[in-house]
């Protein structure tokens, strides 16, 4: 009852503070008047009576304060008073405030953004029902490590262990799938999956249904489940998309459902799968002829199974070990022996909860992610130490103010509370700034044109992470200087005699932090320079084919719904028309974009050893291709009308491939084959000069890819999709004419890409450009933070030494000497930091140069750039760092030198 009363009174006083205040005023006013009247009645004059009353009354404000205290609203009042006071102080010291908020905001922003990206890729909660009963099954590669399941039949064999598995599912790795949407062609990805897919995972479609097992049979009408992310982003979450027909890879496919909202695909690495389709649809949608034929579907599959109640992972492993030799015996010729997805005998079964992406890829991915987190963590540590320095500097500068307030009767608690409020406000502002920055960064990242749907969002955990960081920073680094600042011996501080004893340990730590900051910034800038070097080199590299005047038009007749026979004539007519456009010197057809190569494993006739897939890549070409792109022929001939589907398979190889694979540049007449096509020998008919390739494995950079061979679409049964034309005039102007001709041939043919070769090369460098931009942004951020830190440290030193500086100047020291004495230590710090950063950069460069130019990351090879050690770039980084650092230190040093000796001696 009484407790309730107190609560009510407190609430009332909180919400009706204004009313309370005026009540209190009026009450005290009334008392004063009444007292005045009483005194007047006893014979005093009105004025005397009033003065007497006031005297008797005492301090009106004190009474008010005490009455408010009695009411229990003191804490709230104090909080709002502290806040107002802190805001006033922070606004007055706007330089300090903006430095601190900027520091925190940048660091928290960078952390939140990186954490969001890493989070999107690695640290998602498992969305599956009863995830501990799920297992992943892989067939092992030739080295005995888990790879993929290589055929639909192999999956069927596994799924037959129904005494072990309650259910099993399979889905291919995401295949590129282009689809028609609102009149334009979009790039997407598709997984070809079994009807059991969603049930095994224990998930439900968010709308509609998953496909039935009847729809998995060959010849069934094509259906697809749309990914939730694609549905919301591309289809604007329109529910009427159910039942709609979407042309995927040219074929009409009916959308029957929308995937689960919290699930993005089998390969959950930040990319969202756009479509799931029945496993048999791969035969209808994949253009490669060998995918269409054959007794079973051969494709890289991921297989997951749900264990029966009570079955252990070990039991399931044992069952698969029994199956392994039988599967190995029935292995299709295509996946035996070598190549990218060649498998051996073993089967690996692991609990799904133990795998993030793929057993072989997890470690490198985790290493990259942790590396990123360490880098941004360092940035945050630097920012926090900067904030601590700034607060400490401020605390030192306010020593006198604090002692004055202590002397005037403020309690230590009150002062600590003030200082703490200030730093909490600071970190809150920093946290908000950081969140805005992170949100903005992610929006920019999201805006980068990528061929796939990337799911990035600042989620609530990331937000909480950022806010917690900012709060912990505020409390930790606000409290330490606050306590230190109030531990003051009153008298000497007031008399301003005793300069506080310098805490050497602390200063050393701060110096070390500055050195680390400078070193990290230099290192980041150094790594950026490696990327810039790679970009510049790719730009300058002799691509080996014509760029100026070359225009390309890519279409896909399947989207217009034409039968194959009619389509061949159509492309021929298109080629004829474009070749007739005035100014066109040469034109050719090809499949895909020119120089778009795919890594293949090959076997040379007479040699037993299989070349690894990273060694050589294949490009689809056709008659007129080499002439149009001006690739010089060294030996033999190039493709012409002789090469038709019935004639023996032929290939054109580059000079490097000829030398490496056949031991001679003149390899005409020699034979080799794709590793996965046992009986399809290709005869070398010509050798051409090396060219650069657009290799997808290297992040779409123009990679050095001298080992290449070309095949002709005329022999493959593929429908050519691209016209390449070279003009003596403007390539960009030619594009318009080419599109007009396309419409003239058939108005329904879609334009997939229409660009000049120059634009294509420019676009192929988006990924390294993004990385370079990101790294230089981090490097710049580091440098900004380091200079804020330097500025604070120098300001700190100046504040502490102002008396000494004053004495020295009064004794006749020149201002340069003062600046030098302050800057000397700073120059040393910058020097040491820069040297460490440069040495680390050079070590990284040396390590990269020591590699073979490619690194195995488990699920494939990654091209590694081997940089040159460029002394000019390194020198430039050192100079920039030195200039920024010295400039940051110079400002407070100058202030010290400009100090009036008298003022400096009095020091406030």
């Amino acid at each position: 009852m009484r407790a309730w009363h107190i609560v009510r009174s407190r609430l009332r006083s909180l919400f009706f503070r204004g009313g309370r205040e005026s009540d209190l005023n009026e009450e005290l006013q009334f008392h004063l008047e009444r007292e005045t009247e009483r005194l007047q009645a006893s014979g005093l004059s009105r004025e005397d009576a009033r003065l007497q009353a006031l005297r008797l009354f005492g301090g009106v404000e004190q009474i008010k304060e005490a009455s408010r205290d009695a009411r229990g609203t003191a804490a709230v009042d104090a909080l709002s008073r502290d806040t107002r006071y802190a805001v006033r102080r922070l606004l007055r010291d706007w330089r300090f405030t903006s430095a601190a908020v900027l520091t925190l905001g940048l660091a928290i922003g960078a952390n939140t953004a990186i954490f969001s990206v890493v989070n999107a890729v690695l640290f998602r909660d498992s969305p599956f029902a009863e995830p501990d009963r799920l297992v992943n099954i892989y067939q092992n590669d030739l080295g005995g490590k888990p790879l993929v399941v290589v055929s639909y039949d192999a999956y069927r064999e596994m799924a037959q262990y129904t005494d072990i598995f309650a259910a099993a599912m399979a889905a291919t790795i995401p295949f590129p799938a282009r689809y028609l949407h609102e009149g334009g062609i979009r790039s997407g990805t598709a997984e070809y999956a079994t009807a059991t897919y969603l049930d095994v995972l224990g998930l439900r479609p968010s709308l509609g249904r998953w496909f039935e097992s009847t729809e998995e049979r060959p010849g069934a009408p094509l259906v697809a489940v749309l990914g939730y992310q694609t549905w919301t982003r591309v289809f604007r979450a329109d529910p009427s998309v159910l039942g709609r027909i979407v042309r995927i890879e040219g074929a009409p496919v009916t959308i029957v459902g929308i995937g689960p909202a919290n699930y993005r695909g089998t390969l959950d690495v930040g990319l969202a799968t756009d479509f799931w389709m029945p496993v048999t649809a791969i035969r209808e949608l994949n253009a490669m002829p060998w995918m269409r034929a054959g007794p079973t579907i051969i494709a890289p599959f991921f297989v997951k199974a749900r264990l029966r109640e009570g079955v252990t992972v070990a039991q399931a492993k044992a069952a698969m070990d029994v199956l392994a030799p039988r599967l190995a015996a029935a292995l299709p010729e295509e996946v035996r022996g070598g190549g990218e997805f060649a498998v051996g005998t073993g089967i690996t079964l692991v609990a799904t909860t133990d795998v993030r992406i793929h057993p072989q890829a997890d470690a490198p991915f985790m290493a990259i992610a942790s590396g990123l987190l360490v880098v941004v963590g360092l940035v945050l540590a630097i920012a926090c130490s900067n904030l601590a320095t700034l607060l400490l500097v401020r605390g030192a500068a306010r020593t006198k103010e604090i002692s004055m307030r202590l002397a005037l009767g403020a309690t230590r608690r009150q002062i600590v509370r003030h200082l703490l409020t200030e730093s909490l406000l600071l970190s809150l502002a920093g946290g908000i700034a950081g969140c805005i920055l992170a949100w903005w960064t992610l929006r920019v990242l999201q805006g980068v044109e990528l061929p796939v749907t990337v799911d990035l969002a600042v989620d609530y955990r990331v937000l909480a992470f950022a806010m917690a960081l900012s709060l912990i920073t505020g409390v930790a680094f606000g409290l330490a200087p606050a306590l230190k600042a109030t531990k003051i011996d009153l008298l000497p501080a007031l008399r301003d005699e005793g300069v506080l004893p310098i805490d050497h340990r602390r200063l050393t730590l701060k110096n070390a932090l500055i050195v680390v900051q400078v070193a990290v910034s230099v290192l980041l800038l150094g790594v950026t320079s490696i990327f810039l070097q790679q970009l510049a080199e790719a730009r300058e590299r002799r691509v080996g084919y014509a760029v100026d005047g070359v225009a390309m038009l890519e279409t896909d007749p399947r989207f217009a719904g034409h039968p194959a026979a009619a389509v061949a004539n159509m492309s021929d007519e298109l080629l004829r028309r474009i070749a007739a456009v005035p100014g066109v010197e040469s034109a050719a057809l090809s499949y895909g974009l020119p120089m778009e190569s795919a890594a293949v494993a090959t076997v040379v006739e007479g040699a037993s050893e299989t070349r690894s897939s990273g060694d050589v890549s294949m490009v689809w070409a056709g008659p007129g291709f080499f002439e149009t792109l001006r690739i010089p022929l060294l030996h033999g001939r190039v493709f012409d009308a002789r090469d038709r589907p019935g004639t023996p398979s032929v290939a054109v190889v580059t000079e490097t491939m000829a030398r490496r694979y056949f031991g001679t540049v003149d390899a005409v007449g020699r034979r080799f084959r794709n590793d996965n096509q046992p009986n399809a020998w290709m005869e070398v008919i010509g050798v051409v000069r090396d060219t650069g390739a657009r290799s997808l494995s290297a992040g779409d950079v123009i990679a050095r890819q001298p080992s290449q061979f070309y095949r002709s679409y005329t022999q493959s049964g593929l429908v050519p999709t691209t016209v390449v034309a070279r003009t003596s005039g403007n390539a960009a102007a030619l594009l318009g004419a080419m599109q007009r001709e396309l419409r003239a041939v058939d108005v329904t043919l879609p334009v997939i890409t229409a660009q000049t070769m120059a634009q294509d090369l420019e676009r192929s460098q988006v990924a390294p450009k993004v990385v370079a931009t990101f790294l230089s942004a981090l490097g710049g951020l580091g440098l900004v933070l380091a200079s804020i830190g330097l500025h604070a440290v120098v300001a700190f030193a100046v504040a502490r030494r102002s008396r000494e500086i004053g004495i020295r100047m009064a004794l006749g020291a020149a201002s340069q000497q003062v600046v030098w004495s302050v800057a000397r230590g700073v120059a040393g710090l910058i020097g040491v930091g820069t040297s460490i950063g440069l040495v680390l950069t050079i070590l990284i460069m040396l390590a990269l140069r020591a590699t073979s130019g490619s690194a195995d990351i488990g699920i494939g090879n990654l091209d590694v750039y081997r940089p040159n050690i460029d002394p000019v770039a390194l020198l430039a980084i050192a100079v920039v760092t030195a200039v920024v650092g010295v400039a940051a230190a110079f400002v407070p040093a100058r202030r010290a030198a400009r100090m009036d000796p008298l003022v400096a001696l009095r020091h406030e």
Binding site: I6, E26, F30, H31, F57, A66, A70, R71
Partner: protein, 109 residues
């Protein structure tokens, strides 16, 4: 120091509650009444009167409301609540025991 203020404060609360037990009064009148009744022996400092009133109100022993004063002006009147009445009884009992004790000590030593 602090003990003494505590005693004084407790005494002031007791005196205030006792004074308004008869009829609701405003602050100035409470001070006057205490002074008159104690034959000017006790003087209430305004500096402690109002905080005490607000504390008692906050604790729920007295309530306040606006009313017309003896010279027809708006004044804040304080009255004892039910809980206050009970509290007053215990406080009075406590005080009587205390003063009796103090008296005995003073007389017998």
């Amino acid at each position: 120091m602090s003990d003494q203020t505590d005693v004084l404060q407790g005494t002031l609360d007791l005196l205030i509650m006792r004074t308004i037990a008869l009829e609701p009064l405003h602050g100035w009148a409470i001070a006057q009444r205490i002074q008159q009744i104690s034959d000017d022996l006790l003087r209430v400092r305004q500096g402690s009167l109002y905080p005490a009133l607000h504390r008692l109100e906050h604790q729920g022993w007295i309530t306040a409301g606006w009313g017309a004063s003896e010279n027809n002006r708006r004044a804040r009147f304080y009255a004892l609540t039910k809980a206050g009445r009970k509290q007053l009884e215990t406080e009075v009992a406590k005080w009587e025991r205390l003063s009796a004790g103090v008296n005995l000590v003073l007389q017998r030593t």
